[in-house]
């Protein structure tokens, strides 16, 4: 009889809690349906993807690296398709794939250079039994130069670790299970690191707040996300400035709190004034604004941004007044690909009733309502990309992407991003 439960509707929390009790496929599908229904969206997608891929690595049956890569990629591409407006899912899938390849190649090295076992101990965090190489099915004549073309032809099976430039030719090894176990735990550790990175990204970004915000600034934010909120609160602890909150929801639900009340309370407590701007009034204030802070859903390799719909207005207004635009985005949001045509030319269409209520009346019958969920911001409108690694500019992109993705996964973009 206790009315204690928060609710019956499935959510990410419930899914994560129940991961252990459900078969793997069920968990993957549960997340897919959460994504389809948009019960998981925004920044939660990244962490959810990481959790599910962790399960794939830990619980699915695989005998060699190829199989593991295929499993991860299959699960990953299903997740990507479930939410085409969340490119960050694809990023995590790529990161995990890259991680598996890395670990596999390290193991190869370890096996080759068995004398340098101590090095490996330092490289790998786990104290697993001496790693063994995965089985080699194919001959290992392919050199590094062959790699790219090969992966383009046959994406699912590129991952023969022997093909990697670092791997010299080695005999097929005998004892599999131990090495599989080792690789498994290595990869799991790696995914946990990615999860840590995701969860810490906001705090790390916020730690740069006092550098970016000067006393007396007028900062405009558009529908602040959690990332932006943390950033502002952190800045408020050090600086005195004024925040304009723009892009309030067109109609708010009855009985709900005033928009962003919690944020405003926190900021006011720290002595920072906040001003709510009605939906499109922000351009009038732009002359007064000293900088615009938005957060991105994803950053493409050309520097363009995928943002929640509406932020585009703030960015363009800032451009017109030559005000700097600071984009907050964790490195995990950097996509090694260019935006798909659909996303850059109008975006995914969402629930029509988010903008016009179904109850609005007769005109609903005749009206074609298109509610774009995302906006695309062109790279020239952005001044600073503030990541968890610090402020970056477009010039650093190639380096950041190269640090985080392997060339094989960059090419995967075609498969993951489309269809």
């Amino acid at each position: 009889m206790a009315p204690s439960q928060a609710g019956y509707a499935p959510s990410l929390d419930k899914l994560l809690k129940s991961l252990k009790n459900h078969p793997l496929e069920a968990s993957i599908d549960a997340l897919i349906f959460l994504l389809t229904r948009r019960q998981v969206h925004g920044d939660d997608c990244a962490i959810a993807t990481a959790h599910i891929l962790l399960q794939v690595v830990a619980r699915s049956k695989w005998n060699d690296v190829d199989q593991l890569l295929a499993r991860v990629q299959k699960a990953g591409s299903r997740l990507v398709h479930a939410a085409p407006d969340e490119p960050v899912i694809g990023n995590i899938v790529r990161r995990v794939l890259g991680l598996i390849r890395d670990e596999a190649s390290e193991e190869r090295n370890a096996d080759d250079l068995s004398e340098s076992a101590s090095d490996i101990q330092t490289l790998t965090t786990s104290s697993s039994p001496p790693p063994r190489p995965p089985p080699l099915v194919r001959s290992t004549t392919a050199g590094g130069s062959m790699l790219v073309s090969k992966s383009m032809f046959n994406l699912l099976s590129v991952a023969d670790p022997a093909d990697l430039p670092t791997g010299a030719s080695t005999p097929v090894s005998q004892a599999q299970p131990a090495s599989i176990q080792a690789l498994r735990s290595e990869v799991i550790d790696g995914i946990e690191e990615i999860m840590d990175e995701i969860s810490q990204a906001d705090d790390q970004i916020a730690s740069f707040a006092e550098i970016q915000i000067n006393p007396g600034d007028y900062v405009l934010v558009y529908r602040p996300s959690k990332t932006v909120e943390k950033f502002l609160v952190k800045a408020a602890s050090k600086r005195r400035f004024t925040v304009f909150i723009a892009g309030l929801e067109p109609h708010k639900k009855q009985g709900a709190e005033a928009p962003y009340a919690a944020l405003r309370k926190k900021l006011n407590a720290a002595g920072v004034n906040t001003v709510n701007l009605a939906s499109n009034g922000l351009t009038a204030y732009m002359a007064r604004v000293s900088k615009v802070v938005i957060s991105a859903k994803a950053v493409y390799q050309n520097g363009g941004l995928l943002v929640d719909s509406g932020s585009c207005i703030a960015v363009q207004a800032a451009e017109a007044y030559s005000k700097p635009v600071i984009v907050l985005c964790g490195v995990y949001k950097f996509c090694p690909q260019d935006p798909s045509e659909e996303l850059s030319s109008g975006g995914v269409k969402g629930n029509s009733s988010a903008e016009v209520s179904y109850a609005e009346g007769a005109e609903v019958d005749e009206l074609e309502v298109e509610n774009t969920v995302t906006d695309y911001v062109r790279p020239e409108h952005v001044d600073i990309y503030l990541t968890n690694l610090g402020p970056q500019t477009l010039h650093h992109f190639a380096g950041i992407l190269a640090d985080h993705y392997k060339p094989e996964e960059m090419l995967l973009s075609l498969q993951l991003g489309e269809a």
Binding site: M1, P3, P10, Q39, S357, Y358, N371
Partner: protein, 743 residues
């Protein structure tokens, strides 16, 4: 029923439940259960529902039940019970074969899906009473219909419902309603207007009525008790999406009322009306955002389909591919295409949804339509606002405007399918056929009883197959108990496809679909004439019932016909001379229907009049009126006493005169009895009753003086025949008084 409950008192009403499941309720409290009603005992979707159940009809290429199941899954329902009636195998096969919902599937969001068939069910009420018997329900559950498309979140509603139940155990049900303005399309498409009378501060529903444009009185009668509340709202702007959050007590209420058939018209109305007896409170939850509409008629089917196209039902729209195996993608011009669709370069497709592997020929124009999988659309075809199901072929240069074409329909070249057409499965239409636009054609291979119809080549043309579909006109009268009783006029008009009439005036909208429960009993008007009786209130044995208003007319009519049948049968019976069992049955009926005194009086009068007039006729011996009256009243032991106690109900003059008036009016309604003979019979009956001490002379004289007895010519004619009797009575009276004087 109500009598028994009344004896127990409101507070004790919840008691029997406690013994049933104290443990189960605790244990299963956190498992959310839902019941899907997948049969409606209606004909609205015929001829399509002849071959497929309503909940498998595709809405934007997805069977309706997928939307319902997805809605339940999205709200965290764990256990689902599906009640099937017609086509239950089809529904079971569909769910069992579905990748997602089959019992073997590990990705099934529900821990169990159970199908329940009730072989002898004739209404939704039978389903729910069956559910109560099974004891499957542990705690609160969600009751929905299999044709629901919704994307609302129920968590908040469930929490509120639980809080109310905590505060008051009698808060047994919460209805989810959607608020839209009057002129909204979804409201225009409905035939029956539900009226919720709500206490705005709490959301409690105080009274429920239904209106439809065919009813004779265009008003709602408010319960006088309502005016005790500080404020109430009468809402007609609500879409009733049929989502109810119920406690197990709701099922108990259904079981207590064996004659409730429909969840709203009967159950909700009845429970609210009797709330002083049962003490149950029913609340409403009015949603201002979100989408929840039932595709419960063809007009609503169109409305829901359009809303899916317009993404109001997001995320349950084709492009999110929310059902396993879907592969829709958005293309330019707002269309959604599935894999393998080939559209010729010159074709123009706007705002439509097209299923897998469909081919569209050059020069075709398709706008705001849904086209199923594997269809072949020829060259220069024009399709507007139409819903075309799988495997349909449309020949070159044909036009299809605002119609529904079921699976595997073949339309020849250069045909015209006018607005509002309904073309059922596998119908073939030959080349160059122009279907008549008015009335909009309904074509089917089958007749309403499922037998093959003879092909009518004047309609479907050379090489065609199919005929105009005719509804089951005669059967309907017999089915009036199922809630299907339809005004014959409405039935004829309902053959016209409702879509075509959306733009007509309000009065013709009424003729769109078959009505749930419109009972065109000939005697209905009569019942209304009789109802406002002065004596009823003073001797009402059910004083807690506020009043009998016209809205309960249909239940009274049911009572009337049942009661008359019962009585006449008892009077006819040759094998028994005892009237007691008939009396018992009559009293039972009366309690069950909460019949008023006036309706009882009317029923008794009609029964005896019918019996006596029967005796007059040649095949029953052709008795003289006097003999017939005597036979009718005295052949059965106890009949006279019954009339005196129940029919008249006392020695009061006004009641006696009312009874005489009822007899007179009943005689008027007897078919094939000319007025003079009717008058003779009335005189004979009155005299008989006088002799039997049922009526006294004051009563008869009061009737004689009553204006209502001479309201029109035929009444007067009957009355005139009694003049002799009355004069004789007056004389007797005088004599008596003379005697009295002389004493």
């Amino acid at each position: 029923m109500s009598g028994k409950q009344g004896a127990k008192g409101g507070a004790a009403a919840g008691k029997p439940k406690k013994t049933a499941k104290p443990g189960a309720q605790e244990k299963r409290e956190d498992v959310l259960q839902a019941v899907i009603l997948a049969d409606y005992f209606q004909d609205r979707f015929k001829p399509f529902s002849l071959e497929k159940p309503r909940c498998l009809l595709p809405i934007a290429n997805v069977p309706a039940i997928e939307y319902t199941l997805e809605f339940l899954a999205a709200n965290g329902v764990q256990e689902v019970f599906i009640y099937c009636g017609a086509h239950s195998e089809a529904i079971e096969t569909y769910v069992h074969d579905s990748q997602r919902y089959s019992s073997r599937s590990i990705i099934n969001p529900f821990s169990s899906i159970e199908f329940i068939r009730v072989s002898d069910a004739t209404s939704v009420g039978d389903f729910l009473r069956d559910l109560d018997k099974r004891g499957l329900i542990g705690g609160d559950f969600i009751l929905v219909h299999g044709d629901l498309v919704a994307n609302i979140e129920l968590d908040g509603v469930l929490a509120k419902h639980r809080a109310r139940r905590e505060a008051n155990r009698d808060a047994c049900m919460t209805m989810v309603l959607l608020q839209v303005p009057q002129e909204h399309g979804a409201l225009k498409s409905r035939v029956i207007t539900p009226e919720f009378i709500i206490e705005p501060s709490t959301g409690r529903c105080l009274q429920y009525e239904e209106r439809h444009p065919l009813q004779s009185d265009h008003y709602t009668v408010l319960d006088p008790a309502l005016f005790k509340y500080p404020e109430f709202e009468i809402r007609e702007d609500l879409i009733d999406c049929g989502i109810d959050i119920c406690t197990p007590e709701v099922l108990a209420l259904w079981s207590e009322s064996f004659d409730y058939e429909l969840p709203r018209k009967n159950f909700l109305h009845g429970v609210l009306k009797d709330w002083e007896l049962n003490g149950k409170l029913i609340y409403t939850e009015i949603m201002e955002t979100g989408y929840a509409v039932r595709a419960n008629s063809l007009a609503m089917y169109e409305c829901v389909s359009r809303d899916v196209l317009g993404r109001w039902t997001f995320p349950y729209v084709p492009e999110t591919n929310f059902v396993h195996g879907m592969s829709y993608k958005r293309v330019r011009d707002g269309s959604r295409l599935e894999d393998g669709v080939s559209i010729s370069g010159e074709a123009k497709v706007t705002g439509s949804v097209i299923g897998r592997s469909t081919e569209v020929g050059a020069g075709a124009t398709i706008s705001r339509s849904v086209i199923g999988s594997r269809c072949k659309i020829g060259k220069n075809v024009r399709i507007e606002n139409s819903y075309i199901w799988d495997d349909t072929v449309i020949g070159d240069d044909s036009w299809v405007i605002r119609s529904i074409l079921a699976e595997s329909v073949e339309i020849g070249k250069d045909c015209r399918i006018p607005e509002g057409s309904l073309i059922s499965y596998k119908v073939r239409i030959g080349d160059g056929q122009l279907l008549p636009p008015n009335p909009a054609p309904r074509l089917s291979l089958l007749q309403h009883d499922g037998s093959l119809a003879e092909t009518d080549s004047s309609i479907v043309g050379q090489g065609g197959a199919g005929a105009l579909y005719e509804g089951p006109i005669e059967e309907d009268d017999d089915e009036s108990e199922d809630g299907n009783g339809t005004d014959p006029a409405a039935l004829q008009n309902s053959l016209i496809f409702s879509l075509a009439h959306l733009n007509l005036s309000a009065s013709s909208i009424s003729t769109l679909a078959s009505h749930d429960e419109f009972d065109s009993d000939d005697e209905e008007s009569e019942s209304r004439l009789l109802r406002p009786d002065s004596s009823g209130a003073s001797r009402s044995r059910l004083s807690s019932f506020a009043s009998d208003d016209s809205a309960v007319a249909s239940s009274l009519d049911a009572f009337h016909s049942d009661a008359v049948h019962g009585l006449v049968d008892a009077l006819r019976a040759d094998d028994s001379v005892d009237f007691d069992s008939a009396k018992l049955e009559f009293m039972g009926l009366r309690l069950a229907n909460n019949a008023s005194d006036s309706s009882m009086r009317r029923a008794i009068a009609v029964a005896f009049v019918r019996r006596s007039s029967e005796l007059l006729s040649a095949e029953n011996g052709g008795l003289e009126p006097t003999k017939a009256a005597e036979e009718a009243f005295t052949s059965k032991r106890g009949a006279v006493k019954f009339i005196k106690e129940v029919g008249v109900g006392g020695d009061d003059t006004s009641r006696q005169s009312e009874f005489a008036l009822s007899l007179q009016k009943a005689l008027l309604a007897v078919k094939g009895l000319e007025a003079t003979r009717a008058g003779a019979l009335l005189a004979a009956m009155l005299q008989q009753l006088y002799n039997l001490d049922v009526l006294e002379e004051e009563g008869i004289l009061a009737w004689w003086g009553d204006k209502r007895a001479a309201e029109n010519d035929s009444l007067t004619k009957i009355k005139e025949k009694c003049r002799v009797l009355v004069e004789w009575l007056e004389n007797a009276d005088e004599e008596e008084s003379d005697e009295g004087d002389s004493d």
